[in-house]
Amino acid sequence: MHRYFKAKITGNVLFNKDYRLLSVSPLSEFAVPSAGQFYMIQVGNTLDPLLKRPFSIFRYKNNTLKFLYRIRGKGTNSLSALRQGDTIQLVGPLGNGYQPPEGNFIAVAGGIGIASIFPLLERFKKKAYLFYGARDKNELLMLSEAGKLSRDIFISTDDGSEGRKGFITESLKDFLDTQLCAPTIVSPPGAPRSDLKIYACGPAAMLKEVSKIVTSRNIKCYASLEEHMACGIGTCLGCVTRVKGQSKTSRLPDGVRERKEQATEDWIYKRVCKEGPVFDIEDIVWE
């Protein structure tokens, strides 16, 4: 049962504004997480809030698991009230993390999405061109460390309080269209435009924009999705997302067949917790 364990809180500290850093030390044997995986974390000691909440692994070091979170609703509020020394239950690591990059890569983080992207930067030091956007400079967490771990960093804020004013996807687009034209990384027509794979985590609007950008430029991109989930292990079917694919048509008995229009849609639902949270962005069918 090493994916369901108790852990002692070793820190739950204010990080910045509404953001906190939770550190826990597992009390039993546990599996080592990889970048992009997540944990379901107990956020209180009563039946309300009831469900565990999903959080991406932010750091794993010296038998300590760290999670960066933003206080947003009842669950995260309750979590923020837990103290050092408290024992909580965790389920994880869950889901499929990021495919490890080969060589240099591009990372795109929007807001708290940095929590999911950060382990990639830390594991593949100085390999990432990091595009990091937030609403304002207070929401740019871990900025100096992220900068040090990256090959190059591009920053934007919605209000211009740090870096370029605007969305980070604009910076990404400019980079792809200008910087990337160096002859060494231009590929033959028809082939992927570059070997630089993109890893993205952030709000749905950002990911949708990234999707447009990479599709028109034929770039491989992995996106980590967020969805409400009750169980995190694939059984509640709460966290589904549309991906390309054909649903199987099964033989229907007489009297049932005639009234059923055959499913003609070319998408199926997949579970963010189980088949994700990281998907190949070209497979995602945006609603």
Binding site: M1, T235, G238, V240, S247, K248, G255, I268
Partner: protein, 331 residues
């Protein structure tokens, strides 16, 4: 069926003989609709998938029975997201009965479940009476030819799309029709899962009994809704959803108690069971077995924790047979 008032008595039956070999292990086995369960703890449909995910967390052989996610003849994609939202001490879900269909279940999921020495109860539903019957027939045929399916549980909390979208389980006439039609289509033990969204659940339980059900299970979720005040929109894409979790337990317990008094067939109690005490309450109210649902989401090993807790309670109280807990409420 009367409510036992004598409290916990040592039971002297043939089952007592087996107890002699292991005097310290209480007998937790129960009989439901012709099925012998090693303990009274089942999983609630829709919270346990087809078992695979939970097998990574504990040995499925420990369970009294596995009740799988509801199946229909025609696979269903389900509703748009958001499909779930947490509410005070509970959660609303509107998954929309997403499922892989009877055929894919038989081909792809049943072989896995056959590895375990735990009865498999297949929950199913249909949009029409015909679809219910087709599903029951296909599942029964598989059970007879290859085994692995030990009972059927009918979900009747979905609308009849041929008859004004009235929910099968809320109208006695429609319910009688669908249950008796399925009864004719299967020889497997038939459990009817009752909807709590009715005025008199005892009446519905009697209708199920008269129509040939071997057992009833209750409660299914209670319809509810949640609103996002900023956007003034319902949180769930489906607007309304089914409430489950500890918030519904007192209602479920009351309904189980009422139904146990109203019918002779066994009752499977569920609704917000989070721990062994909750499970014991349902048994004391008269349930022959219990099902654990939302708790599986909170704690993947909830069912085994509950089984262990019930056994501990029996040891502490000196109860050698779980039958002495069933219906032992002192009113």
């Amino acid at each position: 069926m009367g409510i036992k008032k004598e409290g916990f008595k040592k039971r002297k039956t043939s089952r007592g003989k087996t107890d002699k070999h292991e005097p310290r292990k209480p007998n937790m086995s129960v009989d439901i609709a012709g099925l012998r369960l090693k303990n009274p703890v089942m999983t609630a449909s829709g919270t346990f998938g087809y078992g695979e995910e939970y097998s990574e967390f504990f040995d499925l052989n420990r369970l009294g029975a596995i009740v799988v996610k509801g199946l229909s003849i025609v696979p269903k994609k389900g509703n748009k997201t958001p499909r779930i939202v947490e509410t005070s001490a509970g959660m609303l879900n509107a998954i929309g009965l997403q499922n892989i269909g009877v055929k894919a279940f038989i081909d792809e999921k049943l072989p896995f479940l056959r590895q375990f020495n735990t009865p498999v109860v297949v929950n199913f539903f249909g949009d029409t009476v015909k679809e219910y019957v087709c599903a029951a027939e296909d599942l029964s045929r598989e059970a007879e030819s290859a085994g692995g399916i030990h009972a059927l549980e009918m979900n009747i909390s979905c609308p009849n799309k041929q008859s004004g979208w009235i929910v099968f389980g809320t109208d006695p006439k429609i319910m009688k029709q669908v249950v008796s039609s399925v009864r004719k289509a299967t020889r497997l033990p038939l459990i009817v899962k009752l909807s709590p969204n009715v005025t008199d659940i005892s009446l519905m339980a009697r209708v199920a009994e008269d129509a040939g059900a071997d057992a009833v299970s209750l409660i299914n979720t209670i319809t509810g809704m949640a609103i996002d005040v900023k956007s003034r929109k319902p949180v769930l894409s489906n607007v309304i959803g089914g409430l489950s979790g500890p918030a519904v337990k007192p209602i479920a317990l009351r309904m189980v108690w009422e139904v146990c008094k109203a019918v002779k067939i066994p009752v499977i109690g569920m609704g917000g069971i989070m721990n062994s005490r909750d499970a014991l309450e349902f048994m004391m109210a008269g349930a022959s077995a219990v099902a654990v649902g939302t708790a599986n989401f909170v704690n993947p090993a909830a069912t085994v924790d509950i089984i262990d807790g019930m056994e501990r309670f029996m040891l502490q109280e000196g109860i050698s047979d779980i039958i002495d807990i069933k219906g032992s409420l002192r009113v």
